[in-house]
């Protein structure tokens, strides 16, 4: 551990797709096969780095963020290029890495126009996604968060189907409104978390600063006299809930939660296979990840305050998504609405603030990426053959495409959480956590009912599409999956089985971050004494930015080292008093 490779590994993870993109940029437009090949190789290389990082990650380590790398960027603003991963981020990195090559394979023949631009967009998007997951500097996160909008917008808007312009614009505007709100809240956090001169966008500074203010506010609220608190605590007291709401709206749009989910069905329906896969697989996770990493830990008090409303919205999302699915004729739209429903489980589990719920929520993030990604992938194969999205256009496909049908069934089972598949683990934990939490029973009951609804809409869809007699002559000539397509589908099927039958390695990976999240959330729900949780809820980072004096009479400042010494970890106590 802590070799020189470890500290620089994440750079490779994040930027290897971008390097390949630079290579692709210099390739001639007409060499389509070459471009595809190089992109695939680049994505595989990226996957390799992700797997390597995964193997170097030590789940049991007491350090929250591993493989940290920090490069001073703009010291006077406390801005740095700071990356690192915790357990949840690591699994999301792996998920992104796995989806990368599959996306390229899925679109091997489907995309035949502007091939070069398409693959460039994919590679840039990969970098932005991985960067956002790994960022430990909040502004860096924001930059990556915004940066992923542009390639995604292009993927939908240029290579989508008929209504692509409308869908792409809708997607862009929704997300942009959210992220601007987030920027405002982020600046607010930046200002109140630390006094002038010591401000930093570093996650640890923000978290630790807000934590002490949170504690102060909690203490004064308990004492009933909030007149003599520090200015920062006063600001948090007054603005905290508003900032939490701003963060929540930003991430809720991305998740997407009811009622700001309306961009998702359009975007999914119009996007090409690759767009849908990445959108469902990784991009929606940025919303839940944002809640997990920022909204809840930074504002535990406000999170407690809004626990019930958000849980209710999550349940409405679950029920509404499922009901909408029952009414759909369009298969892609059905999968999109099932996403709304599934991510509702994620949010519900997270806001249950119980161990089972949080673990289930994190697991469900991965599940949804795998199974919905696989659904879009497989449906993409069918769409490429028939160019039809309506269930009525199919029927009896099982007879003509047996392998495809088998694959699709497995993924369907995962999506409806049949025991033995990954979906079961996640949903079960979420429901268990919800029942054990302080939320009203009815919420858990409603969420449970929707498991049945989920089975109903998926199985109905499967029945209409795959079984019965072949009703359309065109469908008789459909070819079954070829070798490339099978290769593209196998990894996801394997993940479904592995994560369903042997979830332990993944749960081990997630466990430390779940515990930390929970410690912060428990603090939020007021169950534990704040002081006893103190050491647990402390973010450990190597070194916080040195105090930057307000340059008044321009004293000669000691030059900041461009590289901070890597590989040394500060003990928790030292992290509290950053001294350069």
């Amino acid at each position: 551990m802590n070799s020189i490779y470890d500290s620089r590994m994440l750079n490779l993870v994040i930027f290897s797709p971008l390097l390949v993109a630079a290579l692709v940029m210099f390739m001639p437009k007409t060499e389509k096969a070459q471009i595809r090949g190089v992109t695939l190789l680049g994505m595989l290389l990226n996957l390799l780095t992700c797997v390597w990082a995964w193997t170097r990650f030590v789940p049991k380590s007491p350090v929250e963020f591993q493989m940290e790398y920090r490069l001073a960027w703009i010291d006077e603003l406390g801005l740095s290029y700071h990356i690192g991963v915790d357990g949840l981020a690591m699994t999301l990195v792996l998920l992104t890495g796995v989806l990368g090559p599959l996306v390229v394979l899925a679109c091997w023949t489907f995309i035949d126009e502007r091939v070069k631009e398409f693959h460039l967009a994919l590679l840039v998007l990969q970098t932005a996604l991985l960067g956002a997951v790994c960022s430990l500097d909040v502004l860096l996160f924001y930059v990556f968060f915004e940066a992923m909008l542009i390639p995604m917008y292009l993927l939908i808007g240029v290579w989508g189907s008929e209504e692509r312009q409308m869908a792409a614009t809708k997607f862009f505007l929704y997300t942009l409104v959210g992220s601007l709100l987030m920027l405002v809240a982020l600046l607010g956090v930046y200002f109140i978390a630390a006094p002038a001169g010591q401000r930093s966008f570093d996650y640890a500074t923000l978290y630790n600063g807000l934590m002490s203010l949170n504690r102060e506010v909690a203490a004064c609220t308990a004492a009933g006299d909030c007149n003599n608190i520090s200015a920062g605590a006063h600001a948090l007291y007054r603005w905290g809930p508003l900032m939490f709401i701003a963060f929540s709206i930003a991430f809720a749009i991305k998740v997407p939660m009811f009622p700001v989910h309306t961009w998702l069905p359009d975007a999914h329906v119009q996007a090409p296979v690759a767009g849908s896969m990445i959108l469902a697989g990784v991009m929606l996770k940025m919303g839940t990840f944002g809640f997990w990493r920022f909204a809840v830990p930074l504002f535990p008090g406000a999170a407690r305050q809004y626990q019930l409303p958000i849980s209710i919205l999550a349940v409405i999302g679950i029920v509404y998504g499922a009901l909408m699915c029952l009414a759909q004729k369009d298969i892609k739209k059905l999968i999109a609405y099932s996403s709304v429903s599934h991510l509702g489980y994620c949010m519900l589990g997270m806001f249950a603030f119980t161990g089972e719920g949080a673990t289930g929520s994190a697991y469900q993030m991965l599940n949804h990426g795998v199974s919905t990604g696989a659904l879009f992938l497989l449906f993409g194969f069918l769409y490429e053959r028939r160019h039809a999205r309506l269930m009525a256009d199919y029927g009896g496909i099982a007879k003509v495409m047996p392998i495809f049908t088998a694959f699709f069934l497995v993924v369907t089972f995962s999506s409806i959480a049949v025991p033995g598949t990954n979906g079961f683990v996640g949903e079960f934990l979420v429901l268990l956590g919800t029942f054990k939490s302080n939320l009203p029973m009815v919420i858990g009951v409603l969420a449970t009912t929707c498991v049945i609804l989920g089975a109903a809409y998926m199985l109905w869809m499967v029945q209409k599409v795959f079984f019965g007699t072949v009703t359309h002559q065109e469908n008789l000539g459909l070819k079954d999956l070829n070798r490339r397509e099978i290769i593209a589908a196998i990894p996801l099927l394997a993940l479904i089985a592995i994560m369903g039958l042997r979830p332990q390695p993944f749960l081990d990976m997630l466990n430390p971050s779940t515990e930390r999240f929970l410690a912060r959330a428990q603090y939020a729900s007021g169950k534990t004494d704040a002081t006893t949780e103190d050491s647990k809820v402390r973010v450990m980072v190597r070194q916080l930015p040195a105090k930057v004096a307000v340059a008044d009479a321009a004293p000669a400042q000691p030059p900041m080292p461009r590289f901070l010494p890597t590989g040394r970890l500060m003990p928790a106590a030292a992290a509290l008093n950053p001294t350069p």
Partner: protein, 519 residues
Amino acid sequence: MLNTPNFAMSEFMAVVPAAILVVGAIVLMLSEVFLSAANRTYMAIIGLLASVVAGAFALSNAFEPARMVLQGYAVLDPFSSFLTVMVCIGTGLACLLASGFLKHRNAERGEFYALMLFAAAGMSLLALSNEFITLFVNLEVLSVATYALTAFLRRGPRPAEAGFKYFILGAFAAALLLYGAALLYGATGTTRLSDLATVLPGVMATKSGLVYAGFGFVLAGFAFKVAAVPFHMWTPDVYEGAPTPVTALMSVGVKAAAFVALVRTFLALVHGLDPQVPFTLFSILALLTMVAGNLLAMPQRNVKRMLAYSSIAHAGYLLLGVTALFVPAGSKASDVGGVLTATPLLATAAVNAGVYKGILFYLLGYTVTSIGAFGTLAAIERREDETRGNTWDLERFAGLAQRQPGWAAAMAAFMLSLAGVPPTVGFLGKLFIFSAAVDAGLIWLAVAGVLASVAGTYYYLRVVVYMFMRPAPVDAPAPFRHWTTEVALVVSAIATVAFGIIPGPISEWLSRAGMVFGN
């Protein structure tokens, strides 16, 4: 017998950049008379060279210690020297833009560039004036040159109207300023700012009415020049009517110089006054300017007018920074917060250094961005459309990404920077200003500013949406390309992004040297 003062050579250092600009202007005028080359691109190059040399000299001045020079009529301090650097950057880029623009209209004449350089010299001198008469004369030097530039393409009705409007209102504003200065002179018997600062507290007991009246008139005069709401009425019409490169120069140079002069003047004038008065006035100006500028820009479909209103909004953010300088001492966090009160989060030490730096950095960012934005506009506008009145319609940007991907990318960078989206220089500038304001305790005002700028992203991004998401019209004319224009666009685009990612040395210089004499 005249009493000839004995000046040391080093005292003239302050005015050397302006002198270089004036020499460049004279060379240009003479060349117009004696050289009759058909291709006049060399004139833009001379203008550029003069700006570069003057800028380099000003930059070296910026590291001199701050001091009074020329018997206290001027100061040599980093604040004004950096302003001169920015003016020179703006002027050089505007010269490059003007070359292609004027060639397209067969209007390339030496006096155009000469006027630009004269205006730049006026800006540079205005920034370092430390005495009311000097200040007024330099303000006029810069104003007269810009009046003439505004009406330079005199054939169309619009430039004439714009020039006339600008002249009338500009003269009115200058008169207000002069009147205010006269009242202050009446009260104190001095026109030198540094003397005013020492005399004012003493005369407040007897002549406070005169002083407050003078203060108000001077403030109104400056508010006209920086286009603060409610003194902004002339801006959209003048900006729209002026030739686009001139608009670019006005939006950056004139405004920046006026801001620096404003800061310098009012730092001296507030001595002895009730601290609540300047603070409240500046707060109101900043709030109105930020909010109204953004709201008025929103419905504009004419991109040039939109940029004009947006320049008002940006003046508002700068005024927010200025307000932070005048926060009355003794405000406490426990005070009930309001838009017009300061509630510092912490017992603040010197926030002023941060404010100067924020203002300078913001001006730098706005200079490169705004020049670029107006430059793109100048590049795509066509003379044939001018009679039809839709020269600058948003539709002109439709599908620009397909026709001119490079220009579209540059324009997108400028729009994002104006909107304040990271990682562009506009974001960092806003961050500097807003953090300075928050440190000074202007929390509500900063919140209003952030919200206003969030609202502002709407109209900036609309341009991006048109460029990238709308199909190009079938009859879209081929743009008139000229290498100087493209050089200017490339330089400003690179600066917009690069300063946003690595402001390193620049922001260090600004923080080390961004100080005002006497403070």
